[in-house]
Amino acid sequence: MKTMCRPLLGATMALGLSTALPSLAQADELTLCWAAWDPANALVELSKDFTAQTGTQMKFEFVPWPNFADRILNELNSGGKLCDLLIGDSQWIGGSAENGYYVKLNDFFDKEGIKMSDFAEAAVNAYSTWPKGTPNYWALPAMGDANAWFYRKDWFSKPEIQAEFKAATGRDLAAPTTWDELLETAKFFNGKEIDGKKVYGAAIFTERASEGITMGATQALYPYGFKYENTPGKYDMDGAVNSEGAIKGLEAYKELYKCCTPPGYTDAYMGETLDAFKSGQAAMAMNWFAFFPGLAKDENVGGDKIGFFVNPKEATAASTLGGQGISVVANTDNMDGALAYIKWFAQPDVQKKWWQLGGYAVHNDVLNDPSFKDSQPFAADFLVAMNQVQDFWQEPAYAILLQSAQKRFHDYVVADQGTAKEALDGLVKDWTEIFEDEGKL
């Protein structure tokens, strides 16, 4: 019995293998890694066209934002093969380029006739190039994004509230255009009872662990005149990072946090500010453009109830940059498939559909289309914002630089330690030390 069983078993196994093997080899499959958020769902939808055209199955690995950087950078560092394609954060470009984690796309772009001049210049600079501003491309701009604001239009248009605001401030109630107005409006709404509920001024980013408070605080710092360097490329930060304007900017952010955020929003990032707004606690909130299509359609606070505004200016006009480019992970087993996806994604028609589905295409054909501005209530603001964006360091050491910023900002704004000047002086000290270690100073 036993002796008979064995060859039989062997035969069936061989049969199983011979049928399994070709299907394995043919299983044309790509895994795309990104953050888990609204636009990712839109990309799933969009990618169905790619599968229909090429037969390549798309798999997605979406990581929640608070873990996104940790987990994906860990994956890249450990040489994992999880992702073939990666929509990685703009700050990762430097490190990923220098360590060879991303494939350099110049030759491929030339061969396929993909021209970077077809994409918005600010986006190409931010999402694709390393060293910054040079024609060395490590990604295709995939998703334009910036930090912006939205407010309860229905509350802003109540006559009794408008009258009260006029009496209190002497001007008409409208979406703020400067940080002073923003603070004034937030203070006005804070603690007010609207529709029988106590409401608060504004929900803002205060998250400690990843990048939240830095992305929020810079939204105030940039307009007040914060700069990373006195001379670009020289890493001379003293007097730029801790300039008079920067100090005022950080103080303004803390003032907004102290006066007007809902209780419990001490560690809040994207999800929490959305929650605060959707649950009717906040009159205004900051968040990335990426969430705006979803907000505009929200059952409770969308439609006529919501308005959007670009980050208010102060000394200058500026917005904190978000957004990502799509890169091919050098470690992929399916290089051809991954490049084919990029080629497909760069087509103007696909880019147009991307915008329709809720992704932020930055292809000029999309942005320059005369109908673009009116296609969504926030489309015009998006164009304004993308022309005034500033980004955090994109250096290979960005993670360490970001950590110092997270600590200094959170210590000052949330944990109430020291002054704004001390926080920014400390930041100059930390950053100088980091760049010395890097051999750049």
């Binding site: 769902n41 799933v44 990581v63 994906i72 994956e75 450990s78 994992g80 999880l82 999800g271 929650d275």
Partner: protein, 317 residues
């Protein structure tokens, strides 16, 4: 009443003392159960109910949390949803009532399976190796035995993050990053120290005469170990296994640093469950509940061995 004390031993507490002690302990036990009861309740709430203010004690139970835990969903227009035909399941129905459709299964089940494989695999290995080593240390003269035992135990004192740095580099070189095998080896190494230490105590308690008698009857040393010592050590082995299992099942630090995808276990996964926008607390609660069930069952079934293991460990030191 006071007459009754004469029947008792002098150290037997009075009935009043007992009653008061009982009441305090029961109150404490109930208070410590409140968070767990809340997790269980939240898992059956709808997302709006879960974040209502003040917290709701009475609510209409729904399976939405469990549905959201096991599926991924995308928002769709009402027209599209209407065009789909009748819902396939309860979950389908619940999802559609939120203007969404089920896009596919979530990662919860694969992560839970990883937890099972890694926790049980490493427990088995640790107990197996630990039993052998404990027998070796208990019955034979091993050179430097005390030093070796102390060395084995001291490996448990290191902070996991400190251990994880070189392990991370080593696994990267060996291709063990994010593999179940890598995690099983690591958990086995961490657990085997405890296993040896606990089991040596249990082995020491088994009289040598048993084996010696068996060996006189013609058993070899190995047969005596298998047929005489092992059955005697069952309680000890069971107690050790529970401890190893609890550690491996609950471990977070190594898992979050060394696994990022295919071998990720449930503990690093559960905190990353999010809904549209903010946290989906009912889904988190559902994931937590399901994750806690196996260990609760074990605790209740094997509580005697567990108590023995803990107190025994203490006595031994």
């Amino acid at each position: 009443m006071s007459n009754a004390t004469s029947a008792h031993s002098v150290v037997e507490p009075s009935a009043t003392t007992k009653r008061i002690a009982g009441i305090i302990v029961v109150v404490y036990a109930i208070v410590t159960m409140v968070p767990l009861a809340w997790i269980f309740m939240t898992s059956f709430k709808s997302p709006p109910d879960s974040i209502s203010y003040p917290p709701k004690l009475v609510f209409t139970p729904t399976l939405e949390g469990y549905c959201n835990l096991f599926t991924t969903r995308t928002r769709q227009t009402a027209e599209y949803i209407e065009s789909l035909g009748p819902p396939q399941s309860t979950c389908d129905e619940i999802t559609r009532s939120r203007n969404m459709v089920i896009a596919g299964p979530s990662n919860y089940w694969p992560r839970f399976t990883n937890s099972m494989v890694i926790a049980f695999g490493s427990t088995f290995l640790a107990v197996f190796l630990g039993t052998l080593a404990a027998y070796g240390f208990s019955r034979f003269r091993v050179p430097l035995a005390d030093d070796l035992l102390f060395f084995i135990l001291s490996t448990r004192m290191m902070p996991p993050i400190a251990v994880a740095i070189p392990i991370y580099l080593m696994y990267r070189e060996l291709g063990l990053s994010d593999t179940a095998l890598g995690m099983i080896l690591l958990y086995t190494a961490v657990n085997v120290s405890l296993a040896v230490w606990l089991l040596k105590g249990f082995m020491d308690e088994i009289p040598r005469e048993y084996e010696e008698a068996a060996m006189i009857d013609g058993y070899t040393r190995l047969q005596a170990f298998r047929k005489v010592v092992l059955p005697q050590a069952t309680t000890g082995i069971a107690a050790t296994a529970i401890f190893c299992l609890i550690f491996a099942w609950n471990e977070y630090a190594f898992a979050v640093l060394l696994t990022s995808g295919s071998a990720q276990t449930a503990p690093p996964f559960i905190p990353t469950i999010i809904g549209e926008g903010g946290m989906d607390w009912p889904a988190v609660a559902a994931g937590t509940t399901i994750f806690l069930v196996p260990i609760l069952v074990f605790t209740i079934l094997l509580r005697k061995q567990l108590l023995r293991g803990i107190t025994f460990g203490a006595v031994r030191k």
